[in-house]
Symmetry: C2
Subunit: 387 residues, 2 copies
């Protein structure tokens, strides 16, 4: 038995892009110029205010365990953020600070999912969602979505796929890899369907700050008996600090606290004290400038990719991704991505990382790079296609 | 179904001491003097070298994701530590940096345990061990241990309790809450029994740096097909940085990496760069001084507690805990701890947090406080007992 791994490990796939990233770095180390459009990480560094607050936290000796649910000041600051930005009152007691949204997903699924429970989600979707369900020996049910529903689930799809084993539904708005949103009516429809079935809705809002048409909203607007996942990583530019949060229904707070005590003890103390500064008006001004920069990048990259033969039928309204149909250029997007890297030094993510819904016909572009660099990337892709 | 929690939540208990700690803080806030001997966290702050390295990491812009298994420099530094301190060569590729030893336990049990798998451990023991097994819908089997085996498992106990569902054995040396060690021969005996049964041995060495008789060793000395859990929290004084590590059998490295990518993405970047400095000779000198201070504290507290009626039949050789038999003083250690706090302002942890093996007859003292404060604590306990 000693080399037998748990059954879940047969079903939890690594990120395929990691291997491509390693290859890209290897080429870079050998002196090749690489244009990175594969990484789901802002190229902007953490705002200076937050960095300074991190150093101050160290000088102040904030290097011990904190409460498992986070320092009270940060829970209050997050609550104030909902009030200031969305006009919504959220009891800080319902906010649980977590080690990234990864930690948030672990806690939420940990208190919800028994072995065998089914969880509905989109395909394509964030690959870890499926794997978090597998982690608890649950059954991820990834429903194929396309341009017709903005690459999102619909209430009808939830209804049609619900059975006695279904426990929860996961949605993300904006979504990774497609950058598309769920509208208010659609979100509400899904919520009501899930509720009528007695299940739980988990709403991933980690790209919420990066919505480009100024219609950003939170599902907390119309309900408090759903789970919100959010993060300091993307909009706040704090990936390496590992900090996110949950807004939970009141009835689940004690269980989430209990689980957090046991599996995390606490989040990184320094990150928590630093994150207090993320809501400072000067910092938010910086983040708004960055949001505009991401928008300009999208507005550059979208038509440029279309012009060279990629299909993008829905304009992504958030996050920093374009999920492009590459079927006019290749029937094997996985090889295409590797060949493109090898031949032209452009790194993109093949569809394979996001599910089984025609992955061979899709690639994801992350516009986490400057317009100049992306222009060079597009030029190189054009070269590559011509061959 | 919407307020139904996963079955594991019925079996995962919160730390009872958290409630007592909250009460202690409340009393403190009202101006009462409280002597803390309940907390499993060194009172020494993070060494200044590490703090400065953290600030430097922030100035250097190390605020992004790292590799899921940790920055290569840190994996190498940990490997060098094994060489320098124990004369053992460990391939850095087998070292996986984790968000605390909590993260390490999640990864290791995640790659080993199917629902229904049994895991053997001690009672009393670290409460999270049991709960991590529950987390994966496994079955923790906590075997009562006492002074006769140094509060540790023996090869015979492992053999006697092995069945077809048993998958792994967890041991800790030094142990929490008892501070006792497994000797080389005993550790090897357990390892060989587990191996002969085709299972996996998980050795918690997070208090390894805090062994007082200078005979500290690592189980890596005699085997590389076992899992070592270690941490920067206790010996290195970095609790709030959330950083630990696994040394894994080579055959499991890819699976652990895969799982880490999915459930953590990465550890806190700042903590990782700062931890490089933890192995600096000056820093290690500071830590050795602290180890001597802990030893002096033990040598003060142990006879002082015995004198006032607590039973401690095995001298704890490591960690910073004394697990004391309080049956001459009370038949209900839980009420005793609350009454002692209320009456005299002394906070200790009741046995209930560590299992079901006569918890009502035990309390845990953490000597994470100065000798002066502990002397005052002992004086107050004496007062309390007299009443």
């Amino acid at each position: 038995m000693s080399n037998q791994k748990a059954a879940r490990m047969e079903r939890i796939a690594p990120f395929y892009v990691m291997d491509l990233l390693a290859k890209a770095k290897e080429l870079e180390a050998r002196g090749r110029s690489i244009i990175h459009m594969e990484v789901g990480e802002p190229d902007f560094i953490t705002p200076q205010q937050v960095v300074e607050a991190g150093k101050q936290a160290l000088d102040n000796g904030h290097t011990g365990y904190t409460a498992a649910t986070g320092i009270p000041e940060l829970r209050i600051a997050i609550s104030n953020h909902y009030l200031n930005r969305y006009g919504i009152t959220v009891d800080p007691g319902r906010i649980i600070v977590t080690p990234g949204s990864s930690g948030a997903l672990q806690l939420v699924l940990g208190v919800l999912i028994n072995p065998g429970h089914e969880v509905l989600m989109t395909d394509p979707g964030y690959p870890c969602n499926k794997n978090f369900v597998e982690f608890f020996s649950g059954v991820p049910v990834a429903l194929p979505v396309g341009p017709d529903t903005n690459y999102q689930l619909s209430a009808a799809m939830v209804e049609d796929n619900w059975n006695d084993s279904t426990r929860a539904v996961m949605v993300a708005s904006p979504s990774n890899p497609t950058g598309t949103l769920l509208g208010r009516a659609e979100m509400k429809g899904i919520y009501e369907t899930v509720k009528s079935r007695g299940g739980s809705l988990i709403v991933d809002e980690i790209y919420q700050g990066l919505v480009y048409d100024d219609t950003s909203f939170t599902a907390l607007e119309f309900a408090d008996d759903l789970f919100i996942i959010n993060s300091f990583s993307k909009y706040f530019g704090m990936t390496g600090w590992r900090l996110g949060w949950i807004v939970a229904p009141q009835a689940y707070v004690d269980s989430l606290d209990n689980l957090a005590q046991n599996i995390f003890l606490s989040c990184t103390s320094i990150s928590q004290y630093a994150a207090l500064q993320a809501f400072d008006p000067d910092c938010l001004d910086t983040l708004e400038e960055r949001r505009q920069a991401f928008r300009q990048r999208r507005d550059f990259l979208l038509p440029a990719l279309k012009e060279i033969g990629f299909g993008i039928s829905v304009v992504p309204e958030g996050a920093f991704y374009l999920y492009a149909d590459s079927s006019k250029l290749t029937n094997d997007s996985f090889s295409f991505a590797y060949d493109l890297l090898e031949d032209q030094g452009v790194a993109i993510t093949p569809g394979k990382d996001f599910g089984n819904n025609r992955p061979e016909h899709h690639v994801r572009f992350a516009y986490t790079n400057s317009i100049d660099n992306m222009a060079e990337g597009v030029r190189r892709i054009k070269q590559f296609i011509k061959k």
